[in-house]
Amino acid sequence: MAPPRGAAAPAERELLSAGDVARTIARMAHQVIEKTALDGAGGTDGPAEPPPPPVLLGIPTRGTPLAHRLAARIEEFSGVAVPAGALDVTLYRDDLRRKPTRPLEETDVPGGGIDDRVVILVDDVLFSGRTIRSALDALSDHGRPRAVQLAVLVDRGHRELPIRADYVGKNVPTSRTEEVSVLLAETDGRDAVLIRGQ
């Protein structure tokens, strides 16, 4: 859940530069390949049928380009094409009534669907965990994945639900009043992770 991006507030600090963001995504891609045994490593059972690759679903707005970048890196490193798409969770949020009506974002589940596949949810910042709770509910209405994993670029703590990420780009200890902003070239014109103190 990314906080709103306003004008530059006092005491803004860069947590990750554009180069850091690229390296972090590359590292996360290697971790996904390792954990989901995409390259066939770890299999000693001979020429068994490899499992279908995982499906990456980004949570809009910034999870969507992140999912596509992660999928591109995974394909580059493993040679396996990994489908990527988007899953909007607005209709499943538990705080709709506390805010003005939100516009819906794009949902784009890749053609093969998610039944019996490993689904990796991708988001920019993991904070309370409520967005991911909404995403799990949304997923169950689209089908029944074999397993669901979570990849986030930044984990800033302060969980309000029993949710944790399987792949974390950077753990950032924060106070609740600080704002963490992920900027991506696709949505913001450049790559960076910023933190604004109070």
Binding site: D88, L91, Y92, T101, L104, E105, T107, S140, D141
Partner: protein, 311 residues
């Protein structure tokens, strides 16, 4: 958005937001096992229909149910309305009973507007599902959604509305909405079926169908509303059909890409020939399908937010 009473005064951004929501709802529901969203869980929607309707009522009911709202149908016949209760008392009763939204169809123009006034001090939203000869805003929104889908956009498109404009709330709502969205609207009707003061509307008018057809991107055929006609508006049904009905010959006069709409219920052989209604150029069943998504979007914009934001 607190109420949806007319498309007159509905801003371009607001209308576009509703249409975009409808598009996303359609996409997200496509090919799903469970066509149910939890978004309006715990909200109560009451439909109050004082006039006959199949598609509008069913469409609102499905829309509410797919968003997980509790939907209750009240009809004039089976309620205290039959015992002489006024519209005001019925509305206040339904609101006091916990309705978050009242969807009303009424033969009197302006009834939903009055209703929204009586409910001003409550949290209940009012949706106009058709009032007399005034407006039918969700029909116009679903027509716009269908046109966007079929034509790729509405801005700059030329849309003909043909037939009984005088008695048509669909025509009024469409004139406001389509012109707001940047379309050129031409009303084609016999002089007796054009409303008084139509020269003040942001449209052009014509009496002859054939000369208009080649320039249209879409043609919307209106039902001849015999139930509202007290007097002779045209010599005979046959004569009307020959002069204004959309025949196969007229369909061929439209440009290749042009699409045919009809708000339903259709009088086949009267304003539209049966083969035209069933042709792939007609988007009539698309309109019905889009109606559900558009009404879901309207309920979402009225009921999902905190309700204090009247944007």
């Amino acid at each position: 958005m607190r109420h949806l009473l007319t498309t007159d005064g509905l801003g371009r951004d607001e209308a576009t937001a509703v249409l975009d929501t409808a598009d996303e709802l359609k996409r997200t529901l496509l090919g799903r096992e469970v066509r149910k969203l939890p978004t309006l869980r715990g909200r109560t929607v009451i439909t109050m229909f004082y006039e006959n309707s199949t598609r509008t009522r069913v469409s609102f009911e499905i829309a509410g149910k797919w968003m997980s709202a509790d939907v209750i149908n009240v009809s004039a016949g089976g309620s205290s309305v039959g015992k002489g209760e006024s519209l005001r008392d019925t509305a206040l009763t339904l609101s006091a009973a916990g309705a978050d939204c009242v969807i009303v169809r009424h033969p009197a123009s302006g009834a939903p507007h009055r209703l929204s006034g009586w409910l001003a001090d409550t949290r209940t939203s009012v949706v106009n599902a058709g009032d007399g000869m005034h407006e039918h805003p969700t029909q116009a929104l679903l027509d716009a959604a269908t046109l966007r889908e079929r034509l790729g956009g509405i801005e700059g498109r030329r849309i003909g509305i043909v037939g009984d404009v005088l008695h048509s709330r669909v025509a009024r709502s469409n004139v406001h909405l389509l012109t707001t969205l940047g379309a050129e609207v031409v009303l084609v009707a016999p002089p007796t079926l054009l409303p008084h003061g139509v020269d003040q509307w942001p449209v052009t008018t014509a009496f002859d169908v054939d000369s208009q057809l080649p320039g249209l991107d879409a043609v919307m055929m209106l039902r001849v509303q015999a139930e509202r006609m007290r007097g002779a508006f045209f010599p005979s049904a046959r004569e009307y059909s020959i002069a204004y009905g959309l025949s196969e010959k007229r369909l061929a006069m439209l440009p290749e890409h042009a699409v045919v709409l009809h708000p339903g219920p259709m009088l086949r052989g009267m304003e539209i020939a049966s083969p035209v209604a069933d042709s792939p150029r007609a988007a009539i069943t698309d309109q019905v399908a889009n109606g559900v998504h558009v009404r879901m979007a309207v309920l979402y914009h009225l009921l999902a937010g905190d309700g204090d934001h009247h944007g």
